[in-house]
């Protein structure tokens, strides 16, 4: 059971850890100052949420949040490949679309997890939703605004969606030990959450003429395995960066 619980919590935590990292890259480089600040806030929230998920495991006598966040081997991470993708030369259209798809997924997951039969997770989900509300509001507002504006903005969002779509779909890749988790009432099946996610985003994307068809099996299978430790080609650089200082002097306190 502990493997199942660890898998569930690491998938949630590692997603937030890497998403926080990628969003933080916008501080100082946003298209307008207000977006530097917004992405910085969201990045802080996501990073803090990762820490809070790890803490649940720490409270069970497992590793500390810093050990989970900064001192694991690459194959031990359980994040989806969507959050590993870089910001591609500071492409704001890409960053915004990823943020939209990701935070919609967070809405759906957390709404389900607040009813989890694993109490520490249900309590945490309730708390995180209070912050996530603003991420979701921010993402929707921008998709709505840019999607109705210039042709260039629309084209950029369309390209970004095309690129991120299969990756976002795989945020709901079935988890190892998923049957056990569902049986225990910790989480609904990922496939069910994906359906709810599609219901949430479809009207918003349709309104700005952007809703795409489902990705092909081929696209999806090439991205499979993230929740079992298969990392994308982008993870190596990401990992080297976020462990750079902590790995430079093992055992030191900072």
């Amino acid at each position: 059971m502990i493997e199942a619980l660890e898998t569930l919590l690491l998938s949630l935590a590692d997603d937030d850890l890497c998403m926080g990292h990628r969003h933080a890259e916008w501080i100082g480089l946003g298209p307008i100052l207000e977006e530097d600040i917004a992405f910085a806030s969201i990045a802080q929230d996501e990073t803090g949420h990762a820490q809070a998920y790890y803490q649940i495991l720490t409270d069970l006598g497992l590793r500390t949040p810093d050990e989970y966040g900064f001192h694991r081997a690459p194959a031990e991470y359980r994040c989806a490949h969507l959050v590993e993708l870089p910001n591609f030369e500071y492409d704001y259209g890409f960053a915004l679309m990823r943020h939209f798809l990701y935070d919609a997924a967070e809405q759906v997951k957390l709404q389900a997890l607040r009813n989890s039969r694993y109490d520490p997770l249900a309590g945490l989900a309730e708390r995180l939703l209070r912050e996530e509300k603003y991420h979701w509001l921010h993402a929707q507002t921008w998709i709505h605004r840019l999607g109705r504006s210039t042709e260039e903005a629309h084209t950029r969002l369309k390209n970004a969606l095309q690129m991120t779509w299969p990756y976002a779909w795989m945020l709901f890749e079935p988890l190892p030990y998923e049957a056990e988790m569902v049986e225990a009432g910790w989480t609904p099946p990922m496939a069910e959450l994906r359906t709810r996610w599609l219901e949430l985003i479809a009207p918003i994307l349709q309104e700005v003429d952007l809703f795409p068809p489902a990705p092909s099996e081929e696209e999806l299978s090439s991205l499979a395995g993230a929740r079992s430790g298969r990392r994308s080609p982008y993870f190596e650089d990401l990992y080297r960066e976020f462990t750079e200082v902590s790995a430079s002097e093992p055992g030191a306190e900072w």
Partner: protein, 331 residues
């Protein structure tokens, strides 16, 4: 984070006639208000030169905040643990937020944010020299957050006693936030100073690199002139560069020594008779070189800003045309 306003030769040349041309009655009334400690608000009458100097001051301050976000910003994704990562993100976010507040304060004087940013990118308007030096290691970020922010607090609490309402109010909030940066920076420094030999060496190296930029931070000694006097009278400049430098040295040199660090200036000492700090010439030639674009990172910093401006252009254009694509449905 910011350094002090330095009066440049070209300001002095353009000055006298402009003030002479002002309506003497209005000028007298304006100066009397400042003398009484009243704040000047955006719609109040003010001399041309007051407006011009304030725009320059606040704009430079705002630019310093966004450029200042860059050297520390590159370390957010490399921060060694959750505690530092969250704190550094919040700190750098604050700096960008300060820029936002300050651009708004400067806009009340009649120059738009776009114009100010264009002048930054073209090199026409300046920012604090200190951000033209690189943050080479994690320890540099600790030194910046402690000592550069400490310098900024001295400068900004001084400027917060100024006469222009919107700037003063922005500074009050900024100082409040900066005081947390200082705590964060000091805490980081203490961990390094009491850490492993390697961490201590990193910290000492960072201090060695940053000492000269820190000495430059408040600007070169002011040359006494009627123009500086005017700025002082109008409460645009509230202390001389040297006064602020002395205050900084008084407050922080003992703390640096207490941590067992060495300050890379063998001549640094407090003269017991004058009560003033004495130090080696911090090479003011280098200061002017850096102001004029020849510091170690001037080109890189502006290149990053230009890149961000270029990459974000389509977003700003789209925001100005919110319904360009959208057609109201017929039914």
């Amino acid at each position: 984070m910011y350094g002090n306003l330095t009066v440049r030769p070209e300001d002095v040349e353009n000055w006298g006639k402009k003030v002479d041309q002002e309506n003497p009655e209005k000028l007298a009334e304006f100066e009397a208000r400042i003398e009484r400690g009243e704040k000047i608000e955006p719609h109040d009458w003010m001399p041309f030169e007051y407006r011009r100097q304030l725009i320059r001051l606040i704009e430079q301050h705002a630019h310093s905040e966004i450029i200042g976000a860059l050297p520390e910003g590159t370390w957010i994704t490399r921060a060694p643990n959750f505690r530092r990562k969250l704190a550094l993100m919040a700190k750098v976010q604050d700096e960008v937020g300060h820029a936002q507040l300050l651009y708004s304060a400067a806009e009340t004087l009649g120059k738009s944010r776009e114009q100010m940013i264009n002048d930054l990118l073209s090199g026409k308007s300046k920012y604090s020299n200190v951000f033209n030096y690189p943050a080479k290691t994690w320890a540099d970020t600790a030194i910046i957050a402690w000592l550069i922010d400490a310098g900024a607090i001295i400068n900004q609490t001084t400027n917060a006693k100024g006469s222009y309402g919107p700037y003063v109010r922005a500074l009050e909030r900024i100082c409040w936030e900066e005081s947390f940066h200082l705590k964060y920076g000091y805490d980081s420094v203490v961990y390094l100073a009491t850490g492993t030999p390697k961490q201590r060496a990193l910290l000492q190296d960072a201090l060695n690199r940053w000492w000269r930029p820190i000495m430059h931070f408040f600007g070169p000694p002011d040359t006494a002139s009627v123009h500086t006097e005017k700025l002082v009278k109008w409460k645009v400049k509230l202390a001389t560069n040297d006064e602020m430098r002395q205050q900084f040295l008084d407050m922080y040199v003992p703390k640096i020594w207490e941590l067992g660090l060495t300050i890379p200036d063998p001549n640094l000492r407090k003269n017991p008779e004058t009560g003033k700090w004495e130090y080696s010439d911090p090479n003011w030639e280098e200061f002017w070189q850096v102001i004029n674009g020849n510091g170690p990172c001037n080109k890189e910093r502006l290149a990053v800003r230009r890149f961000a401006e270029e990459k974000g252009r389509w977003v700003r254009e789209a925001l100005l045309q919110p319904n360009a694509r959208y057609v109201t449905p017929l039914a």
